[in-house]
């Protein structure tokens, strides 16, 4: 009797010891993975210079250069982009206050140097392409996790990195992009590739290249977006990036935008 109770006790202890690790090995859900991507550490603020090269199927290129500043306010964020090149868009600036609450429209203003004033623009329409590129405003901004329903499809290797493959289906049936499939690098919580599907199938593909660590944060230095149907592609290259510079809140106000330059 005593021997049986000792064995039972030992068995219970072993069970308890194994329960912890076993529980940790349960696969993450699609949503949990996307929350990790969304909450990936990227600094409290970010300053960067970017070069965007648009290439059509005949090889003709157009180049845009921009300065971008962004700052987190809890789960919300504010960002401003100033266009530097080409000359006919220089001085154009785009200010955005992005809210994590998907039921709340973002606040956006566009400053046009030809009009010498800012104007409010719709915060809901994010499907249009950004400055003629293959990136949409949604791609350039911060998409809320709750705008899609997420499902983990599988785990596979991509570019020598172990990735979760997650399917995200938009909850808004009016969106052009009905579904995205993301390859999320497990060690980085960063999408290395995203396939975009509309009602007819795959139409865009995003790929991340040249991932480096800057100030302890993972940074994608080259982002390529291809339109599979039109054979047009956009390469977004980071020239420089700085984190946690303590960007003043004043930079993200309309009053700063109205100066028509980055200050």
């Amino acid at each position: 009797m005593v021997r049986f109770s000792v064995v039972l006790t030992l068995f219970m202890i072993c069970l308890l010891l194994l329960a912890g690790p076993l529980a940790a090995q349960e696969p993450l859900t699609g949503r949990e993975i996307m929350v990790r991507v969304d909450e990936r550490a990227d600094g409290d603020d970010r300053t960067s210079k970017m070069r965007m090269t648009l290439t059509n199927k005949r090889g003709r290129t157009r180049v845009r250069e921009m300065s971008s500043l962004a700052k987190d306010y809890g789960k919300d964020s504010k960002s401003v982009i100033y266009f530097l090149k080409p000359a006919d868009v220089r001085g154009t600036a785009f200010l955005s206050w992005n809210y994590d609450d998907s039921s709340r429209d973002d606040d956006k203003w566009l400053y046009l140097p030809a009009l010498k004033k800012e104007r409010r623009i719709s915060g809901s329409s994010n499907n249009d392409y950004f400055m003629g590129s293959d990136f949409t405003y949604d791609d350039m901004g911060d998409r809320s996790v709750d705008e899609d329903e997420h499902r983990l499809l599988r785990v596979e290797m991509l570019d020598d990195r172990r990735c979760w493959v997650v399917e995200s289906v938009s909850l808004d049936e009016d969106e052009t992009c009905r579904k995205r499939v993301l390859w999320v690098a497990q060690e980085l919580d960063l999408p290395l590739r995203i396939d975009y599907f509309d009602k007819d199938g795959l139409y865009r593909r995003y790929q991340a290249f040249d991932i480096q660590t800057v100030a302890g944060y993972s940074v994608v230095y080259r982002k390529l977006m291809e339109n599979i149907l039109t054979h047009h592609q956009t390469l977004l290259e980071l020239a420089e990036i700085k984190f946690d510079q303590g960007i003043a809140d004043a930079v993200f106000r309309v009053s700063a935008l109205q100066r028509g330059r980055l200050r």
């Binding site: 648009l54 409010r120 719709s122 809901s124 249009d128 392409y129 003629g132 052009t176 004043a250 330059r261």
Partner: protein, 410 residues
């Protein structure tokens, strides 16, 4: 005028706390601008030109910490209006950004309002109607020499503007096909403009609020009417009575309000202005213009349904306090519709702006195609159609024009 500006800049330069040598200063100067050629022919007879000009805009800017200097100038050869040919200073100002405030001193263009193509509260920079409203906004608005000071809060921006030197609006005259009234044919005294006395300055203040989901602004402007009032009296001339005109500018006080609110795919906006003390022509042209108060308002809606479409519609009204015995109607209404579509990855933009004046059934339709030939090079082709039973649009019926423009930006 230019000497005053240079003096201002020379005084401001030390204030910029600039210790850089001249070589270092030169390195900080950024040059930019554009060259363009514009030609417009009348539709009724394409050999008749409404406009033919080629010009260049040069801009220079330099930043030294919180201080920023900007100057721009124009050079133009105008084959239609010889007086427009030559070189001129466009803007020359100095910015300084402090902690919670900033200021801009010098010759500058100041734009207010939320309207598209219509001036309601946007009265600080006077208009240049040399070619009516067919020119770009940058060419229609005249710079003023002003001191602008802003207090910058988290959500509120308060502006104080002082314009010490009066600048009148420019109307088409002389050989211009856009001239409505040949004033030079009238017997008149030279236009009396306010002199440069301190008491003749203009003062403006505006408080803007930028909230989540709503922009608001309230303004007050103690100014001069940019357009001279043509007072008249009968006088004897060569043995007969003739109207003798004594044009002068009058003081005007303007109170304004604006709002802009996004809602889904829409942006609703509006503004209103009460102009106290404006003069209007009487029905009988022998009578002097009469002083009235005017209320202008506008409501607009911008819709971006996606796929690079933009639709902007506006309704604008104007009401005068007492229409008797004025030449104009007591209430007037103007509708506008602006539709644009971007194509070919925004290298091609098609747009159409329609103005409809309800009272005189007047129409102005401006269709335009803009094509980006390459980075920085754009070609424009447009059609301006005027029509109506009476009113300004009817006056310009013969000026309906086909135009083209080529611009190189650098």
């Amino acid at each position: 005028m230019i000497l005053r500006l240079l003096l201002l800049l020379l005084i401001a330069l030390p204030a910029a706390n600039c210790r850089a040598g001249w070589e270092q200063i030169a390195e900080k100067v950024q040059l930019s601008g554009y060259g363009e050629t514009f030609h417009a022919a009348r539709i009724r007879n394409l050999s008749e030109m409404n406009s033919s000009r080629t010009g260049v805009r040069l801009e220079a800017a330099a930043e030294f910490g919180p201080a920023y200097f900007f100057v721009s100038g124009d050079g133009e050869k105008n084959w239609k209006l010889a007086d427009e040919s030559g070189f001129s200073l466009h803007e020359a100002w100095f910015d300084y950004v402090g902690d919670g405030w900033d200021m801009r001193l010098g010759r500058q263009i100041i734009i207010w309002g939320k309207a598209d193509g219509i001036q309601i509260t946007d009265l600080v920079s006077p208009p240049n109607y040399t070619e009516y409203i067919t020119r770009d906004l940058d060419e229609i608005r005249l710079p003023v020499t002003a001191a602008k000071f802003r207090l910058l809060g988290d959500v509120a921006v308060t502006e104080f503007i002082w314009i010490p030197f009066f600048k009148a609006a420019v109307l088409a005259d002389g050989e211009s096909p856009w001239q409505q009234v040949d004033r030079e044919a009238l017997w008149h005294k030279a236009v009396e403009e306010p002199d440069d006395a301190l008491a003749n300055g203009e003062f403006a203040t505006r408080m803007s609020l930028y909230l989540s989901g709503l922009d608001l602004a309230f303004s007050a402007f103690y100014t001069w009417d940019d357009f001279a009032t043509w007072h008249r009296r009968m006088e004897e001339r060569d043995g007969s009575d003739e109207l003798y005109y004594t044009p002068r500018h009058h003081r005007l006080t303007v109170f304004g309000a604006e709002f802009s609110r996004p809602q889904g795919d829409f942006v609703f906006r509006g503004e209103a202005a009460a102009l106290l003390g404006r003069y209007f022509e009487a029905k009988n042209s022998n009578y002097n213009p009469l002083k009235r108060n005017l209320f202008n308002w506008l409501l607009g809606c911008d819709w971006t349904p996606g796929n690079q479409w933009t639709l902007m519609t506006q309704i604008s009204g104007s009401s005068v306090s007492d229409a008797e015995p004025l030449l104009r109607d007591r209430h007037t209404l103007l509708l506008t519709l602006n539709i644009s579509k971007k194509l070919l990855r925004e290298t091609l933009i098609l747009s159409n702006m329609l103005y409809y004046s309800v009272n005189d059934k007047g129409v102005l339709d401006r269709a335009q195609m803009q094509y980006e030939v390459s980075d920085g090079v754009a070609f424009y082709l447009g059609l301006d159609l005027f029509d109506g039973e009476s009113g300004t649009f009817n006056t310009y019926r013969d000026n309906s024009q086909l135009w083209c423009k080529l611009r190189y930006s650098f």
